[in-house]
């Protein structure tokens, strides 16, 4: 599933699959309004790719690699937290 990744000094991070770089705002006065929205049940979830750690290796995981399986995706505030 997950591909092993070469490790450099930079800290790679995750991102959405197929998303283009954000456009520059057209002017100082007109700024694109980005509404914060929650996902809707019954709809497709956004695909993403993210680096990670899995059983002794650094890996890169793309959500769509798990099509055909049930996935539990958990977010949490931070490593070494207490809950």
């Amino acid at each position: 599933m997950a591909q092993e990744e070469q490790v450099g000094c930079a800290r790679p991070t995750g991102g959405l699959v197929g998303e283009t770089a954000p456009e520059e705002p057209m002017s100082d006065t007109i700024k694109p309004v980005k509404e914060k929205t929650m996902l809707t049940v019954g709809q497709k979830v956004p695909d993403f790719s993210a680096p990670g750690y899995h059983k002794g290796a650094f890996v890169n995981v793309t959500l769509s690699e798990y099509l055909g399986k049930w996935v539990v995706l958990c977010f949490y505030p931070g490593d070494f937290t207490f809950v």
Partner: protein, 132 residues
């Protein structure tokens, strides 16, 4: 998935989590530094710069079947997550021919939605069945 780097994930697994779970965490611990994925899923707390406790159930077609989001101090109930997956799997197997009423867990009675059930749920399902 959190905003921590994969290097911190490794240290947490090596130093602490492997002492709770034999062999360490069995699934990938992903990094979302910057919160791009968390923002797309609606769980990134911009003010604190961290993800909240969001949990998403995604079916084999990539469809979101359920989610739960908690503020950081309260932990999740893993048994409830597993119960929900079992219920969604049963629905999928029966292609919607059965439905799981409140309090359902494996072994408990399901309902068969249809015209015969209209107004008759009270005969099939009692309120004490909502509880374990």
């Amino acid at each position: 998935m959190s905003i921590d780097s994969m290097f911190v994930h490794k240290m947490w697994d090596d130093d602490e989590l492997s002492k709770m779970v034999d062999g360490g965490v069995p699934f990938p611990m992903l990094s979302d530094a910057g919160g791009n994925v968390g923002k797309a899923y609606g769980v990134f707390d911009e003010a604190a710069g961290v993800e909240t406790r969001g949990r998403f159930l995604i079916d084999p077609d990539g469809i979101l079947q359920g989610f739960e989001v908690l503020t950081p101090p309260v932990g999740r109930n893993v048994s409830e997550t597993i119960r929900q997956i079992q219920a969604f799997q049963l629905i999928r197997e029966t292609k919607g021919g059965e439905a799981t009423p409140s309090g359902w867990r494996p072994g408990k009675k399901t309902l068969k939605p249809g015209i015969d059930l209209v107004g008759k749920v009270w005969q099939e399902w009692k309120t004490d069945m909502a509880f374990d």
